[in-house]
Amino acid sequence: MAAGRQSDIPLSRDPSARFLPWIVAFLTYIAALSVAGYLALAQLSVDWNDGLSNAITVEITALEGEEDASINGRVQTTVALLRGYPGVESVEVLSRAKIREFLEPWLGKALDIGALPLPRLIDVRLSGDEDVDVVALNEKLAGSTGARADDHAIWRDRMERFLGSLEWAAIAIVAVVVAAAVIMVAFATRGSLAAHRETIELLHLIGARDDYIARQFQRHAMRLAMIGSVLGALAAMATAFLISQSASGLETGAGLGAETAYLPVVATLALPPISTIVALFTARRTVLKALRRMT
């Protein structure tokens, strides 16, 4: 059929032509936000994990009634031990000012850090050239200065499990959205088939093959899905942008800002072609199945 020529079946006048783009837009919006949300969190997790995987935090808790001079001595001994430990690249004792900086977002600016029984913290960066046995290091530290090393393994395990759940949730949402889109397109196509039964019969009698008729339906469904999914994708991008703008104002240090803002864009750009293809094949399959039952 020549491009731009009126379709043999007047599908553009069907009720489905009015409601289907909006439904596809809504479904695309949900899918885009789900995928984008998951991708943004996964990227954050990677960033956090990268920051923690080559780092160990060593803490030295003050003993009851212990003088500052004593605890400073334990800190210096620990630092010396760590600097000589295989695989350690750098060792930095966190100052009280730095600790205050970390705690301020949660405890406020009026914090009197001296009134809190806070442990001394040492940030240890690993070279990554060789594995550091944290258990052995802990045993060594406990035997000499009573310090305790934490490689954040528990936190990272929990984060990994949490992200795994989020991934499955995102997959489930996308699967539900695709299923809903397939059902809606199939229903709309069946409605159009019933509405244009006489025209389809005439085309058959003139000698039209099922494929010729199906192409008209699939082109129609494709066009509607394209319009709807582009609308949904634009709305999702706008929402993601607003979320990233509000997240950038949070003092969480989580970095939910510009560095992850491109992920929703990638996710949403992929959805219109996918929605269009899903609509095309659903309409085609529905029509061919129905036509096989006709004479």
């Binding site: 006048r13 009698l205 003139i206 000698g207 039209a208």
Partner: protein
Amino acid sequence: MIRFENVGMRYGTGPEVLRDVTFELKAGAFHFLVGASGAGKSTLLKLMYLAHRPTRGLINIFDRNLASIPREELPDIRQRIGVVYQDFRLLNHLSAFDNVALPLRVNGAREDVVQKHVGELLGWVGLADHINALPPTLSGGQKQRVAIARAVISRPSLLLADEPTGNVDDTIAVRLLYLFEELNRMGTTVVIATHNKSLVDRFKHPVMRLGDGQVRTEEDEADWGAGLRRDAEASFGTKGDAPTVPPREL
């Protein structure tokens, strides 16, 4: 060309509309199909243009047994059959041009071929000035000519027309019959179901008479003419007055 053997047809669980219909049309034949209203003329034509399958019996079309033709091959057969429907069955959202172009386009004809042939044919049936008109804006006679143009555009081997002159005046009716005769001379087998006695009388072609669910051709009865006239008197009513204009070339 087409052969019916003991064909029976009923809709659902209703009575048989056609029973034990047996006849054969040779390639290049031209027949009128007459019979009283409700006799089954449209049903017989529907069987011939493959809109229905018979309840029983054998239909051979283009030397192929209809029962053994797989569904995927029906379009090839149908593309060789042109049909003028009693109610035109034009697509109201398409222009006269696009309606006539349908058989060519479903057959995958190139657009330049479509443009050339459809334009010529619409001119031939006197609708050159209505190429872009939508069917609802056309008169009954103009719609009928669009329907006829659509039926003949792809030079069918078999042309079936159900009351093709029912909505046109006598002048147009005679012109259309000349068009059908012209196609017949070019090799198309033509069957025209009609109530128009004057046309049947005027154009001396064999008549298939449908009554009591059965078809009788002139070979079936020696006095078919007398029978036809008897039957026609009963079935034509006042509708089939002779055309008042002399025949003329299209």
